[in-house]
Symmetry: C2
Subunit: 273 residues, 2 copies
């Protein structure tokens, strides 16, 4: 029997996936959410496929213990490395952030030149190219790893000359190639969207996979007849947050992203799952 009132499980290496959780809360206001951030092992972007997949499996086991009805991998690196494996291993629907972002980029581009900025892991996996070229084999995809963006965002330098300078260096080759669509392929990047948009110029469409992922999730829940028929009330355990370390610090950052008020964040030992 389907439990429509069960929560949606969302996970990320840390805080970045909160930009995805925020979109899910906006677009699916009736749904409960259980969020897990792997703050004891963050970041994932520079770690290997084996390690990121092992970590993702532990988190999926934790989320299953919370009886979620579906899982959203709200981390590009984990989506790139672990989605295929995890989809095979669990019997509830699982979606990542990469495929929805790829699909909308194909719709958005006019000249067929799509740029992707992301972590080293996501870029190295070439996962965006793969999904984009499955839809449109003629599209040309250029990836650029931007490893300093995550620390700059986490330091709060969302509007700062240093972030500008670093962004210019990373983006120059994408501008020179003449892309007209840029995928923000890491969940931290929407937080510096205005800087990225200014540097790329008005002719370039920025694609935020967080938004598209929430839309795809909505479609999936409809199709699977899993939408919550009753609105979950705020405070009624509607939004629960778990981390593997430093819950108080997570709470502070989370409250700057999600405006519903993070009532509490609990620390769990993720290695034991």
């Amino acid at each position: 029997m389907k439990n429509k009132s069960a929560p949606i499980g969302v996970f990320d290496s840390g805080v970045g996936g909160l930009t995805v959780a925020r979109e899910i809360m906006r677009q699916l206001p009736n749904e409960k959410v259980v969020y897990f951030g792997d703050t004891a092992r963050v970041p994932y972007g520079n770690k290997s496929k084996e390690t990121v997949t092992r970590y993702s499996r532990q988190i999926v086991r934790f989320l299953l213990s919370q009886e979620v009805k579906t899982i959203v991998i709200a981390c590009n690196t984990a989506s790139a490395y672990a989605l295929d494996e995890i989809e095979k291993e669990v019997d509830i629907p699982v979606i990542g952030v990469v495929k929805p972002g790829a699909a909308v980029a194909v719709q958005a581009t006019s000249n067929g030149k799509i740029g992707v900025i992301a972590t080293e892991g996501t870029i190295g996996s070439k996962i965006y190219s793969k999904y984009i070229n499955e839809i449109d084999p003629s599209a040309s995809v250029v990836g650029k790893a931007c490893p300093l963006f995550v620390p700059l965002v986490e330091e709060g330098l969302w509007q700062d000359p240093v972030t500008d300078e670093i962004a210019k260096r990373y983006l120059t080759e994408l501008i020179d190639i003449g892309i007209d669509t840029l995928i923000l392929g890491c969940t931290h990047y929407p937080l510096i969207r205005s800087t990225l948009g200014r540097i790329m110029g008005e002719g370039v469409t920025l694609v935020n996979p967080a938004y598209e992922t929430a839309r795809e999730l909505k479609g999936l829940l409809e199709k699977e007849d899993l939408l919550n028929s009753q609105a979950a009330k705020l405070g009624d355990n509607k939004y629960r947050f778990y981390v593997s370390d430093a819950a108080e610090k997570f709470k502070g950052f989370a409250n700057s992203i999600i405006k519903y008020g993070i009532l509490s964040a609990k620390t769990i030992k993720i290695e034991e799952y």
Copy 2:
């Protein structure tokens, strides 16, 4: 019976501790070294005391399985959080990088104003103040967390206008206070020593705990009659490197720091220790 020819165990959250290993190799050329870098869970600087201590204990168990004769915690954050616990739990000598750095800073200062730059964890622990004031209660210690230095160093921006700009922001308050001694309280920072020295000016002594730690280790081995009486030969398993993830990437970075040639780096599952 003491095994003088046993290796020295050295560990860090990742690659930073290689600056300490390098000093040990320079000052104790007869000794074997087993190095462990926790690349699957790096960085430690923004994680909690509980988590860093748990990780450190696992690594110590791994190093003990390698039959090391002594352990050097070549990570300021792990030294700050875990040294006291680990010293109690093992029956071989254990030293950290904080105490040696603190001792030499007290010798170096003329005006009694000492600055410390380090990760959030090390600064938050106030461990440098504690050790410094145990030696000289009148010394005044000012700490400054510099969370962007590690990613900037790992991106290779050792000499770069962006690193200059960030360093100026972090260091201004230490310059204004008039410190005459600055402890590089994170093992990555010696790699941007020239930038830091230029910004602080000639009147300020930079203290590199890596150098002091190797000196203290030498004294300790002499005192405990643990010095290797025969010179270990290069290639003869003299220097062994282990990591918890991405051994190839580690090797590349390590070879840019240590000039002896990292013959191999092996990946182990550190959670199983």
